[in-house]
Symmetry: C2
Subunit: 256 residues, 2 copies
């Protein structure tokens, strides 16, 4: 099973939107996908239509050992896409996990026990921080997808993220690498966007996906209908960009 975390400690850069729409695009092309929502805001769960009443077992219970993976998994409205939903309890998990033995490996051990062949790929939507939840995700996966908003503050955070990846690689997970950096909310009319995109490609080269995700209001409307943009409006520029991004991602993955 391929394991990828969607991470960036900068807030509002498109992590959840990327996780939901890539997961949907992969499921649509035949991959069996598990999406784990590790953000106490639970936006990925909401964006895939999992109501709060259905989140009896969540990623919080999973991390503290209160339930099994199988109990926390919910089928989404998208065929072949399952979700482990998140609730607000998760924001307490960071403090609770501190006293656990192996606190950084909790999620890695849970995924080690996943039934072989049940899913082809797991995607983890991370919160906007570099605390124990994101550390658990980075320890549990082989690679990261880093959504990057083409803005100055987002670029400033990139070096902090790269340092954290080095630290995790050295202390916990030697295979951790960046699968790709996805430029999001790209606005061609704005010269700051072009500047940040150029700087990022100059510094990271081929790691940056060719596909850019344009700013597109349909992407932000879809979650209020509890469905991914790919289902809400698959012809809009945002959906077409995520389908192209998924195709580019598949080109970087081992054969299913």
């Amino acid at each position: 099973m391929i394991r990828i975390a969607v991470a960036n400690q900068k807030g509002g850069v498109g992590k959840t939107t990327t996780a939901i729409n890539l997961a949907t695009a992969l499921a649509a092309t035949g991959w069996r996908v598990l999406l784990i929502d590790l953000d106490p805001q639970g936006n990925a769960s909401t964006g895939l239509g999992i109501r709060h009443a259905e989140r009896v077992h969540s990623s919080y219970h999973l991390l503290i050992g209160g339930c099994l993976l199988e109990e926390a998994v919910k089928a989404s409205r998208v065929p072949r896409l399952d979700v482990v939903p998140a609730t607000a309890d998760l924001s307490g998990a960071e403090i609770e996990l501190v006293d656990f033995k192996n606190r950084s490996y909790r999620l890695a051990h849970i995924l080690d026990d996943a039934p072989p062949g049940r899913w082809d790929i797991v995607l983890i939507d991370c919160p906007p921080s570099l605390g124990l939840l994101t550390i658990n995700a980075m320890v549990a996966v082989q690679s990261l997808i880093v959504p990057l908003q083409c803005e100055f503050f987002a670029l400033e955070g990139l070096s902090q993220l790269l340092q954290t990846i080095e630290r995790i690689r050295a202390r916990f997970n030697p295979v951790l690498s960046i699968m790709g950096v996805a430029l999001t909310m790209y606005d061609r009319r704005n010269k700051l966007t072009e500047q940040v995109a150029e700087d990022t490609r100059a510094c990271l080269g081929g790691v940056v996906f060719q596909t850019v995700i344009p700013r597109n209001v349909r992407l932000s409307e879809a979650p209020s209908h509890g469905m991914p943009a790919l289902i809400y409006d698959h012809k809009c520029p945002g959906s077409e960009a995520y389908i192209a991004l998924a195709r580019e991602l598949i080109g970087r993955l081992p054969q299913r």
Copy 2:
């Protein structure tokens, strides 16, 4: 001294942009302002021109008791505006603070010891989470300013924020209230924006500031020059909106 935290666990909603520009507007009208950067990303420090080399003493050292407030304070380029800068060490503080006695009151006690009359008001820029850093800010202040992006996910987070405020008020800080909710990145052409704004005003009434902050690229260009938008381009729509918001805020504050 008036104490206000700028908080919202949803990422990328304009907390830092609001903290920087309100602090600048208040200083410009004669208030002596202290801005405390409590976000490990250190965006407020960068946006006010504090270089990384100058952050020898930071909010991290302050919280763990490694330095005094006076040592951590730096004058900014804006007259009457001082800054306690932040560094990436702060993301480790959440784990380190767990074992401290009075871990939720660290910042409150530091502000209690501030020399009387040195500043009229302190603003705290919070990270996008509800962990120990934001809890410290909420315990240390009398009120909150909540920037709210007019998007669906941002609205969903509001109820979680209101619950957290109730919890903090009951357990740690009975005076905590919301000074105001500021609608940010407002795009009149987008019907989702109008819908979210209407829902927010219906549910929170007069707590929501009349002034809305429009989406304006000059606001996102200013930090790359290390200065607030009010100085970078004080005639742009973004700056004019923050000047109007500051005037509305002053109307809600006790006399200086």
